[in-house]
């Protein structure tokens, strides 16, 4: 007996911004094949739920009461509350044809006459994202059926306590395109292809997609191959990783719009997967220094401000090194500025020591902190000049047999360690500082180990251990990597 097709919800519009295939699978795949969220996703969801509870507890809301999953009854109850002019409705139900929306908040917009409502959602994130706006546009579309016209603005209550307005007119063209695609997917008029990307490892459908991609050695598994590049390569007969590993970059550059150097790099990446070993590209960009610092920040999971500032300073001494931890913390947003300034001052004491980090988050956060709290004669420019992104350095110097260059996978390739499991922040405790600090310290130490391992890998033949491998037939699997660092042709 065919399964009843699910209605379209705000979640579909949200997820479509991340992965269209998720939306397709949610409509048409057996839900029993969904996997539980991984630890990081579970932690984020718990944080989101807790944030929402905290916010709602401070608001004077009413909720529609209806039997579980009886959304028609839910809509009737919601409309009664709206008709009676309830100021703030939590988890109201809006229906359309094959569509169900449950905005977190319906807030009466006072203007006299028939009550009109604005839509809002509560988000743990401290930044308003397009996915959030898509959900709100979806709810606005449903609400337009009952108001003479849909609301032009909506609002988000964000993780750092701010309310941000969303201009729905701005996102309208994008919403219409997204809604049409979701509709087409639901009706099987459009089936998007699976492709590997950053969200895959936490996705509920990873048990469906990843084995398919791995079985055929899909090109999207190769770091640096976007959907457009995948199609460009397929147009010229390159369909999987094994074939990519055998291309002639000069010939293919003449037949595609991909530059020869890009194709060379992609071929190397494919070969690294095939050979189960790293390849050298260019010397590592950082030099040995007597004093080195590794630094990271962590945000408060609920309040969104930068709560922990941590750096690990090592000084070469004899055959070993001395170490020192530099730490500042901010329990609440008001303490963020002073903590930032003290941390900056500590970092600036070693004028020439490189400061290592992994990924763009640290410099981006520094720029945000400067915008909020910066003063004249801050040593920030000096600190900026000393930053070295270990992720960028490794990507410019080594091609590793991994699918993505995040810290866990780079560590796996260079150190042979399995990805660290993230212990979810407890949703019930208020003071999460010790947990956050410990996780941060572990990350900093891992970044340092990865950096040193990259330097050794560049210099010697003893190299990676665990990695992803690709068989000659093109199938991908995790396997112990062979030793041997290979020079790039």
């Amino acid at each position: 007996m065919p399964r009843k097709l699910r209605p379209i919800t705000g979640t579909h519009l949200f997820q479509r911004e991340r992965c269209s295939r998720w939306v397709w699978l949610d409509f048409h795949e057996d839900p029993a094949r969904k996997l539980p969220p991984d630890a990081a996703a579970a932690a984020r969801m718990a944080q989101g739920r807790r944030h929402e509870r905290e916010i709602v507890a401070k608001l004077d809301v009413v909720e529609p009461h209806y039997p579980a999953n009886d959304f028609e009854a839910g809509e009737r109850a919601t409309r009664e509350l709206m008709g009676s002019g309830a100021p703030l409705i939590y988890q109201g139900v809006l229906l359309g044809e094959h569509r169900v929306g449950k905005p977190d908040l319906l807030r009466r917009a006072d203007g006299g006459g028939t009550p009109r409502y604005l839509l809002g959602d509560i988000k743990a994130s401290s930044r308003a994202k397009l996915e959030h706006a898509m959900q709100l546009a979806f709810y606005a579309d449903l609400l337009a059926a009952s108001q003479s016209d849909g609301p032009k603005t909506a609002f988000l209550l964000l993780g750092d306590g701010r309310e941000e307005r969303v201009q729905l007119d701005d996102v309208e063209p994008f919403y219409r395109e997204a809604a049409a695609e979701v509709e087409a997917m639901r009706e099987r008029r459009h089936e998007p292809r699976a492709a590997f990307h950053v969200h895959c490892h936490g996705c509920a459908w990873r048990g469906v997609c990843l084995p398919e991609l791995e079985a055929r050695g899909d090109l999207s598994l190769v770091h640096g191959i976007s959907p457009a590049r995948r199609e460009a390569l397929e147009e010229v007969g390159v369909h999987n990783i094994a074939q990519l590993a055998c291309i002639e970059p000069a010939q293919l550059a003449a037949r595609t719009e991909l530059p020869r150097e890009t194709l060379r790099r992609l071929r190397l990446q494919a070969r690294a997967l095939l050979d189960r070993a790293p390849h050298r590209l260019a010397p590592l960009p950082w030099k040995a220094a007597r004093i080195a610092v590794a630094a990271e920040f962590a945000r408060h999971p609920i309040r969104g401000h930068v709560a922990e500032f941590l750096a690990y300073r090592t000084i070469a001494a004899g055959n070993g090194f001395q170490e020192q931890w530099i730490h500042e913390s901010a329990q609440n947003p008001e303490e963020e500025g002073p903590a930032y300034r003290r941390f900056l001052s500590s970092l600036s004491l070693d004028r020439d020591a490189p400061i290592y980090h992994f990924g763009a988050e640290l410099p981006d956060t520094l720029a945000q902190l400067d915008a909020r709290h910066g003063k004249l004669n801050d040593p920030l420019p000096q600190v900026f000049a000393r930053l070295h992104d270990v992720q960028v350095g490794i990507r410019s110097s080594l091609v590793l047999p991994i699918l993505r260059y995040d810290l866990d996978r780079v560590a796996q390739a260079l150190l042979g360690t399995a990805p660290e499991s993230v212990e979810p922040h407890s949703a019930e405790t208020d003071d999460q500082s010790p947990q956050i600090r410990r996780a941060l310290a572990e990350r900093i130490l891992l970044v340092r180990r990865v950096r040193l391992a990259a330097a050794r890998a560049w210099q010697s033949d003893g190299a990676a251990s665990s990695a992803v491998s690709v068989s000659p037939e093109g199938t991908v699997a995790s396997a112990p990597a062979a030793a041997g660092l290979q020079d790039s042709p």
Partner: protein
């Protein structure tokens, strides 16, 4: 505001130094590749503090006014400190002058030379100016920046000046702007969208100032912008009143031809009688310690950083800012919060009423329509004469669909994928269209321009132009301008082709600030008078925003795609193939 202004200057200086250090760490080939060096130069002439060098191609990012090192490309700072005065594209020569030195030893003939970027540390001068303003309580400049000045018109003055404006042949909004320049007690801003006669209006204002026996300083960011205003001013008033404050030794033939004299003295003409003195923001900051004027007029104020304007504002008590914050903003090297990256013009229009010139004399209706709605709330309209202008074509020829004069703006859709900064397919189409316009339709190369977002695409287009012209036996006397947006602001052509180059939405999503900047798009779309041909992959318009901040800019691009008539690029390619 003192602290953010000083912090901006400090950060800019440090960013420039850091950038210079990073450049020095690159090899010559790498510096040339990224456009920060020009190699293979040979001396053509040297003397009187001036040096002319020949080059094969100006592929660097250098612009007129930039300060550079001329040397061997290895011991960079042992080279000669020079300033780039003029780029002669036809002769493939660069005219330089020594900077801070009178003479140099003769450069050996036959020696290959390299030009490298040199940083100019002027931050301290600007910082002193900021301190000067903020050490005084309620300094008028501080009040101006904080939005506290009155902008009430003197109605009698305004009416009389408006009549004067009409008498001078100004149109309605030009006359209104002219009137407010005199009716507002201290401050006015005039927004001049593309082709609205801003320079002409400025010349009339300066002429009127001279008639009122005012001493006026005209300030702009570059020498070229200053010179343009002074030449026009000299055509409208007694040239003997017009001066350029300039310590350069280079000839300035346009100024000389207009009768504008040059002086190294800031006090020139400021003691008695009217005078119009042009100077760059850098020179103005220095001059403000020694000279005062009745009025300070800023041109291209949309490109003057806020702290740089503060220095020049000290030249006088009344300020007129002319610019357009919908076109290119200031070039900023460092990390700053958004509000401090703004120009003086953008800063002030948020705080005070301004006048926008609403009639463009450049673009026909088909070219003007989209930019007007997207960037000027529909308020920019072509004049009657400009509106009906159409590209004149010879009978016959290829690509009639694309070149159709009755469709002034078209998009040639080229179905390529995966390209980042360069598309050979687009370069080929642009080259063939250009050759057809020049060879068959006799469009002078000087009336044609090609705009590309990346230097790599510009180079690919130039290569294709030369290669395909050679195949067709076409030898033009000169080549059309092929430039990035930054180097084309202020210019116009009968026909403009725009090659967007990219077709990788995921890659483009990382470039939104640059690639999808509404200001850059505005400049690109408003250079043409009668025909604008966009050549692009549909994938360039299918980028998903990552943040809500990106949505407005991406919306404009999406609207451009929807509203521009599209032509199948594959059919254009077929026409090229069939033609051999």
């Amino acid at each position: 505001m003192r602290e953010p202004l000083l912090r901006y200057l400090q950060r800019e200086r440090l960013a420039e130094r850091r950038y210079e250090r990073e450049l020095r760490a690159l090899s010559l080939a790498e510096r040339v590749e990224c456009g920060e060096a020009l190699a293979g130069l040979s001396v053509v002439s040297q003397g009187g503090g001036r040096i002319t060098v020949a080059m094969s191609e100006h592929s660097a990012k250098f612009r007129e006014g930039d300060v550079l090192w001329l040397g061997d490309g290895v011991r960079i700072e042992e080279g000669l400190p020079v300033r780039l005065v003029r780029y002669d594209g036809a002769a493939r020569q660069l005219h330089l002058e020594l900077d801070g030195r009178e003479e140099a030893s003769p450069l050996r003939a036959g020696r290959e030379l390299v030009l490298d970027r040199r940083s100019m540390d002027l931050a301290e001068r600007f910082a002193l100016a900021v301190e000067d303003v903020y050490t005084k309580t309620n300094h008028p400049i501080a009040l101006c920046l904080e939005g506290k000045l009155s902008t009430d018109d003197d109605e009698a003055v305004r009416r009389e000046a408006e009549i004067d404006g009409f008498r001078r042949g100004l149109d309605r909004t030009q006359a209104a702007a002219f009137a407010r320049a005199f009716a507002r007690p201290k401050l006015h801003m005039i927004q001049g969208p593309p082709g609205t006669g801003k320079t002409r209006l400025l010349a009339e204002i300066l002429s009127a100032c001279a008639e009122r026996r005012e001493r006026v300083a005209v300030v702009a960011y570059t020498h070229r912008a200053v010179d343009q205003v002074l030449v026009r001013a000299a055509q409208r008033t007694d040239p003997r009143l017009v001066w350029k404050l300039d310590s350069s030794r280079s000839e300035a033939p346009e100024l000389a031809a207009a009768g504008v004299r040059r002086t190294t003295s800031a006090e020139r003409g400021a003691s008695t009688g009217p005078a119009i003195v042009g100077l760059t923001t850098h020179a103005a900051c220095r001059a403000a310690d020694r000279a005062t004027f009745d009025r300070v007029v800023f041109d291209e104020a949309g490109q003057i950083p806020l702290p740089h304007a503060v220095g020049a504002m000290r030249l006088g008590p009344r300020w007129l800012f002319v610019g357009d914050h919908a076109q290119l903003p200031p070039v900023v090297a460092g990390e700053h919060a958004e509000e401090w990256r703004a120009s003086i013009f953008a800063h002030l229009v948020e705080r005070y009423p301004s006048t926008m010139l609403e009639t463009t004399y450049r673009m026909n209706s088909g070219i003007c329509d989209f930019p007007s709605r997207a960037f000027y709330a529909g308020n920019l309209k072509p004049s009657a004469e400009a509106s009906s202008r159409r590209l004149a074509l010879a009978p016959g020829g290829r690509f009639r669909d694309v070149l159709d004069p009755q469709r002034p703006a078209v998009l040639v859709e080229v179905p390529h994928r995966g390209a980042a900064m360069r598309s050979r397919r687009e370069a080929a189409i642009v080259a063939e269209l250009s050759i057809e316009l020049m060879a068959h339709h006799r469009l002078p190369a000087e009336e044609l321009a090609v705009i590309a977002p990346f230097r790599a695409q510009g180079m690919a287009i130039r290569e294709e132009l030369e290669r395909r012209a050679a195949i067709r036996g076409f030898r033009p006397a000169s080549w059309p301008l092929v430039e990035t947006v930054e180097r084309i602001q202020g210019r116009e052509r009968e026909v403009v082709l725009i090659s967007l180059a990219s077709s990788d939405p995921e890659w483009l999503a990382e470039q939104t600030d640059f690639y999808f900047s509404p200001n850059r798009l505005n400049v690109a779309l408003t250079r043409a008078r009668t025909k604008r041909i966009l050549v692009a992959s549909p994938l360039a318009f299918r980028v998903r925003a990552r943040t809500l901040e990106d949505v407005p800019a991406l919306s404009v691009f999406a609207a451009l795609y929807r509203e521009t008539p599209r032509i199948d690029g594959a059919s254009v390619e077929k026409e090229i193939e069939v033609d051999g």
